[in-house]
């Protein structure tokens, strides 16, 4: 652990003594950090440690209660993000800022659209420029004409990154840019980061995936409870976790329970839905079945149609040996199926409602007598969940939208734990979740499996799939392209199976 004292070079951007509180919650408490040109500076910390708050302040999005920000040694007061942009400070915020009902091209070019002779925006030209920009930065697979709403999350994230990079920033903040990227896009992003660093850009980067930090970071600053606890050149993961959480973590991935006997919980035969072609699979009780493959290859559609949220087209579904038809989520819940969806902000949580309301939404009926809610029981149930999952919240009645990302995810997962389903469809549940919480979620999954519940798990992290699953099915273009088990449960094999036919190892 090599702590750094003093900074060698003049910092490109520096925040000193920054504090910010939200209605009594100290998101940031006298925190300082700086980044120098030509370095990749990683910011790590638990969910809710204040990383995003710091980045939002340095990026001009949020004001600090106290403290100063200086760029290139000169103190500045940002009136808004565009003030920061003028000084070459660009940010990819954790919550995407793309405009959903506008095209990728419009989003990329907003504020710098090419004009025609009349001074009007030249839309064709804009689309061409967008296409060129995407191509120049190696993201030509994204259709500039598509609406943002219609492209998968990983592409949206890519567009957001492309937009920031295309301004050739002097200082670039990337707040969890990889959380919704797939492996190959992460490789792409790191290539871009290195290019920018070599060009002399100061980059600040947050992530909850340690191998990424180790890969790319020149310096690491650890945050804890709104404060920076140190900046390091080298930091082994174990020590980082200890610094971040105050606890020691033995192993990220807990021991997988032995493969269960072949008692089917869910069986699909020639299952078809929009984007899902001819899928047959069997999920056993107590089994953790991983689904691998690139985003946009049918996992989402498979999960949503199984849960009754999208139409199934053909095939049979058997739950516990009985053929069933599931037409809506309520019916799915009645058959003991739960879905934790991809995008917790729009499909999972009711952001303005309280932690309690969100936690108990799926079990309201059980909590009511003559449809009058029993408040005390509800509170107890919610509080029990909060305690069990160690959700960090000021209280049960706080809006869930004010929690940090990881804690939001826990609340969402908790909602379905309360419903006690037999089949869990988990779509990328550890996205944006810190190491310690990830570990807790993994243990939870293992425990659910031990209890005999069946778990179908999609993850954008092949490593995670390899460590958690009993079997992994790799999907490509809506079909199951490979089944991996035993020694084949390996991140590299999963990734390569996602893009080409079975390869020999």
């Amino acid at each position: 652990m090599a702590e750094l004292d003093g900074v060698q070079a003049e910092p490109a951007i520096e925040g000193r003594g920054l504090s910010r509180s939200y209605g009594g919650v100290h998101a940031l408490n006298d925190a300082s950090m700086s980044a120098v040109a030509g370095e990749v500076h990683a910011l790590v910390g638990e969910n809710g440690a204040g990383k995003s708050t710091l980045i939002k302040i340095l990026g001009g999005r949020t004001r600090a209660d106290t403290g100063t920000v200086s760029v290139g040694g000169r103190e500045v007061k940002f009136a808004g993000p565009d003030a920061a942009h003028r000084l070459g400070v660009w940010t990819v915020f954790q919550e995407l800022t793309l405009l959903p009902w506008m095209s990728v091209a419009e989003n990329l070019m907003i504020g710098r659209e090419p004009r025609s002779r009349l001074g009007l925006i030249d839309r064709r030209g804009m689309e061409r420029r967008a296409e060129d920009t995407l191509a120049a930065l190696g993201a030509e697979h994204i259709d500039p004409l598509a609406l943002v709403e219609d492209i998968p999350l990983s592409q949206r994230q890519t567009v957001e990154i492309v937009r920031a990079i295309s301004y050739e920033p002097d200082i670039l903040f990337l707040d969890e840019p990889t959380s919704s990227l797939v492996e190959r896009e992460v490789v792409w992003l790191f290539g871009q980061i290195r290019r920018l660093r070599d060009r002399g850009t100061a980059l600040v980067f947050t992530s909850h995936r340690w191998n990424e930090i180790r890969d790319i970071a020149d310096r690491i600053t650890v945050f804890r409870s709104g404060r920076n606890v140190g900046t390091f050149k080298e930091l082994p993961e174990d020590d980082a976790v200890t610094l971040m959480t105050g606890r020691r973590l033995e192993a990220l991935y807990p021991q997988r329970p032995p493969p269960p006997p072949a008692v089917p919980a869910l069986a699909l035969k020639s299952y078809n839905a929009r984007g899902v072609r001819d899928v047959s699979l069997e999920l056993r009780k107590g089994e953790i079945l991983g689904l691998g493959g690139l985003a946009g290859h049918g996992h989402r559609e498979l999960f949503f149609s199984l849960f009754g949220a999208e139409k199934m087209i053909a095939g049979t579904v058997e739950v516990g040996g009985k053929a069933v038809r599931i037409r809506n989520p309520r019916e799915a819940m009645r058959h003991g199926i739960a879905l934790v969806p991809e995008d917790r902000k729009t499909e999972g949580l009711l952001l303005a409602m309280s932690v309690r309301d969100n936690a108990t939404l799926a079990v309201l009926r059980r909590l009511a007598r003559f449809s009058i809610l029993r408040h005390v029981r509800e509170r107890q149930l919610a509080q029990g969940l909060i305690d069990r999952l160690r959700v960090r919240t000021p209280g049960l009645s706080n809006p869930v939208g004010a929690l940090s990302g990881g804690n939001q995810q826990k609340v969402l997962l908790g909602r379905w734990l309360l419903a006690e389903p037999n089949i869990f469809l988990l779509y990328d549940v550890t996205r944006g979740v810190d190491v310690a919480t990830k570990h807790e979620i993994y243990e939870l999954i293992m425990r659910l499996a031990k209890e005999g519940r069946a778990i179908m798990l999609y993850s954008s992290d092949a490593e995670e799939l390899a460590h958690l699953s009993h079997r992994v099915l790799v999907m490509r273009e809506g079909r199951i392209a490979a089944e991996l088990s035993g020694a084949e449960l390996d991140a590299e094999i999963i990734v390569s199976a996602a893009v080409r036919d079975r390869i020999a190892t």
């Binding site: 020691r248 807990p254 309520r330 799915a332 009711l350 449809s371 009058i372 960090r392």
Partner: protein, 343 residues
């Protein structure tokens, strides 16, 4: 939890903020919504004082009773409007559902007490049915709420005019059954029954919204229909139910109004559309759904009706009233209705 994560270092206690550092006054007033309700009521009190100054007797017990009774009519309609605005909808069919209900009430009862109960049920049933059709059109056919309910308003207008021959039918001039009239005009313990009815409605609606599964689902849908659907909320049934309630309350208001005035008339529902919407939004609800409650709408109804009454009490031309009405609403809003600043 399995034992692999053991604490090795006593981490600093996570502070559990309790809002202790908020100013005392704000803590006393509680949530912003509650604050708005208080301000709305406070505004009514000030308005009563002004009214008393302008016309002595305005704030006398009987004066207050009169104003509150009129507020209760707006309040009843606003109850239904609250339900649908909470899910980001709106009910523009209020005027003619109300008017149709009042005419149906007198024509079906023909002023006889014996027919009062069936007429009451028929009328309330009609309102509920129309509301259900609204809801069904919105969730099942995907018609935007504005269009669906406005069209329904037209449909009800046409049907009412057509069936009553433009209010020329023989039964159209009937009076409301004496029991209904008496029920509205009587008082119990010095409180007009119309007000008591409103009080019951206030309690019932508030209980439904804050303490039942239905209420919770309503807020959930208002916050995000998609997320609610994915959490197993039956969005379709809920929405239809909410619009049905709105129709029911419009019909109820129609009945109470004929009971109050004795006879039905064309156009008697017209003032209640904007007034009910205004009461709901002034009471702190968001027109985009998910935020608000009925106590707020009731407070909004009281302050609006008080304002109108004070302006009526002042001797001034119509245009002056209209302008001052708007200006005072703006001032009230600027005093307490502002959204929190971002950033």
């Amino acid at each position: 939890m399995a034992s692999s994560a053991e604490p090795v270092m006593p981490g600093p206690e996570t502070p559990v903020p309790t809002g202790q550092d908020a100013p005392l006054l704000l803590r006393l007033l509680g949530s912003p919504t509650r604050r708005r309700i208080l301000y709305a009521l406070l505004a009514s009190i000030v308005l009563f004082a002004i009214g008393q100054a302008v016309r002595p007797g305005f704030a006398s017990p009987s004066g207050i009773r009169a104003v509150l009774t009129i507020a209760s009519f707006v309040g009843l309609v606003a109850a239904g409007q609250t339900f649908v605005i909470l899910i980001g909808g709106i009910d523009l069919s209020v005027p003619w559902v109300l008017n149709g209900a009042s005419i149906l009430m007198v024509t079906s009862s023909l002023g006889s007490n014996a027919r009062a109960i069936p007429a009451l049920l028929l009328t309330l049933g009609m309102g509920t049915l129309v509301g259900m059709l609204n809801g069904a059109g919105i969730v099942l056919l995907g018609v935007p709420a504005v269009v669906m309910t406005l069209a329904m308003n037209g449909i009800m207008e046409g049907l009412t005019l057509g069936f009553s021959g433009g209010m020329t039918c023989a039964a159209c001039g009937s009076y409301a059954p004496p029991v209904v009239q008496a029920a509205v005009h009587d008082s119990l313990f010095g409180i007009p029954t119309a007000l008591l009815l409103w009080l019951v409605v206030i309690v019932l609606v508030s209980v439904v919204l804050s303490m039942t599964t239905f209420g919770r689902r309503t807020y959930a849908i208002g916050n995000s229909p998609r997320a609610s659907f994915l959490a197993g909320v039956d969005v379709t049934t809920c929405t239809i139910g909410l619009y049905a309630l709105s129709g029911l309350f419009s019909a109820l208001a129609g009945i109470v109004l004929v009971g109050y005035g004795g006879q039905a008339a064309l156009g008697m529902g017209d003032p209640y559309l904007f007034q009910s919407i205004a009461a709901v939004v002034i009471g702190g609800a968001s027109i985009l759904g998910g935020r608000g409650n009925y106590i707020g709408s009731a407070a909004g109804a009281i302050s609006l009706v008080t304002l109108v009454s004070v302006l009526m009490a002042m001797n001034m031309p119509e245009y002056g009233r209209s302008i001052i009405y708007g200006v005072i609403i703006l001032v009230l809003l600027l005093l307490y209705g502002r959204e929190d600043a971002e950033r």
